[in-house]
């Protein structure tokens, strides 16, 4: 019985003594942290996506306090966060960050894209891309969902081996752009009020070869480029939207309607 009491006493006393020592030392060795940095860390989204170019939100907060002109560096946070950061830093100019979202330039579903080989290997796009056997099209989406796994906010869903990006959730961090072995993702400027059009195909082969592997892909016919005031350009047998060109929503809509394979996709909030 007494040994129990003594062990409790000894352990308790030693713990208490070390606790007191630590408490005293922590008061003495306190490091003054910048109030500004703390406040900014609280405001930032805290998902450490790295889209700003720093290792995480706290690293960005420290950098922004030192170099004030990059207050709009937080891309996922958007205007609301950037304005608050600006307020804390005491700045008043009003240049906001453009919101960007990712789109996948392959919109073919399973069944539309031809699959002759039976791929048996690790079910990741990067592994499958090395073998080149997962799908017949050498440019298109493999559909094993590496992008779905890497997305920090869960905006990407892969169904029937086709990628769906929820533009309302997407924060434009660009992780999917880096992970996709076929480089299918593109970050485009996005505004809630105007729909965004893009060509959901990346195949640069001639139309007949595209038809051999996919019933959905762009055959480079150029009909979309012939529409009045069209922002579409056809290069390497593939149509693309020239983002430098401004054009009316009307022209975009007509072009999308005329596309024989319907691979010009509208995406809006």
């Amino acid at each position: 019985m007494s040994i129990v009491v003594i062990s409790i006493l000894v352990l308790g006393l030693t713990g208490f003594l070390f606790g007191v020592l630590l408490a005293l030392l922590s008061r003495k060795l306190k490091v003054e942290e910048d109030e500004c940095v703390k406040k900014i860390i609280d405001i930032l989204p805290g998902i450490n996506c790295g889209a700003c170019g720093f290792s995480g939100c706290s690293a960005f907060a420290e950098a922004v306090v030192k170099k004030r002109d990059m207050f709009s560096g937080c891309i996922p946070g958007g205007d609301s966060v950037n304005n608050k950061v600006k307020d804390i830093l005491g700045l008043s100019s009003s240049a906001g960050a453009v919101r960007r979202v990712a789109v996948c330039r392959c919109g073919a579903r399973e069944g539309e894209k031809k699959i002759t080989n039976q791929y048996q290997g690790p079910l990741t796009c990067r592994a499958a891309d090395i073998t080149g056997a997962a799908i017949d099209c050498l440019y298109g989406c493999i559909g094993f969902g590496d992008c779905e796994k890497v997305c920090p906010v869960g905006a990407i869903k892969v169904k029937e081996r086709k990628v769906y990006v929820d533009v309302n959730v997407c924060i434009g961090c660009g992780k999917c752009v880096k992970v996709c072995p076929r480089g299918l993702f593109e970050l485009i400027a996005f505004d809630k009020n105007t729909p965004v059009y893009y060509v959901a195909c990346s195949n640069k082969d001639k139309g007949i070869e595209v038809k051999n592997v996919c019933s959905y892909g762009c055959i480079g016919c150029g009909i979309c480029a012939k529409v009045n005031d069209s922002p579409f350009v056809v290069r390497n047998n593939l149509s693309r939207v020239d983002r430098e060109k401004t054009s009316s929503v009307n022209a975009l809509e007509t072009a999308a309607g005329k596309c024989p394979t319907k691979c010009i996709i509208k995406s809006n909030g």
Binding site: S7, L21, L22, L25, L29
Partner: protein
């Protein structure tokens, strides 16, 4: 004096904590990327080890043995080590923020560094006296730092080497660690008892 020298040499080279007992592998692989942070980590571990053996010896022999409570050694030693690590962390944060940044998560992880708990338990198992214990602790820390620095030096050079893709990163690091352990086996005949 002769015993102390033998303890020193055998702990640093022959029974090196990392390469022959395989204790403390986690910081050995984690912080050996750059010589600067390896040196800081080595010094922090040496400091904690020396103080931990000294304080643990005092508590063990003056309190635990006296009351017949030597079964409490694990708990008490962990308590001592954890508190010391906290103190070291506060010191480093105050006086060298850059070192604090580069050590990162590995600094609080000294708490669970098995080499440090190992050294205090070896100390009681081998019945060292106070001075022997302190020398044992310090040389254990220095041995750890030595291996960490050697590894960091090799890894810094390895960054420029043309390593096959499959071996890059962890595999080549583990192979290097294995080769180092083989080399340290060569010291085993240095002191004949």
């Amino acid at each position: 004096m002769k015993e102390l020298i033998i303890i020193f040499i055998s702990t640093v080279l022959i029974n090196n904590f990392v390469l022959s007992y395989f204790l403390g592998i986690c910081p050995f692989l984690g912080v050996s990327g750059r010589i600067e942070s390896a040196f800081g980590m080595g010094m922090a571990v040496t400091f904690v080890m020396t103080l931990a053996t000294a304080i643990s010896w005092l508590i063990y022999n003056l309190i635990l043995v006296k009351f017949g409570l030597s079964f409490l050694e694990y708990v008490i030693f962990i308590l001592v080590i954890a508190s010391l690590v906290q103190i070291v962390e506060m010191f480093i944060k105050k006086f060298s923020p850059s070192l604090y940044q580069s050590l990162g998560i590995y600094l609080p992880l000294i708490t669970t560094n098995c080499a440090i708990l190992g050294i205090t338990l070896f100390m009681t198992a081998r019945n060292y006296n106070f001075i022997e214990s302190v020398v044992f602790g310090a040389s254990g820390g220095l041995g750890f730092s030595l291996v960490l620095l050697v590894m960091a030096g090799i890894r810094e050079e390895m960054a420029y080497a043309d390593i096959p893709n499959v071996f890059r990163g962890a595999p080549i690091t583990l192979i290097t660690a294995g080769l180092l352990a083989l080399i340290f086996m060569g010291f085993s005949g240095l002191v004949s008892s």
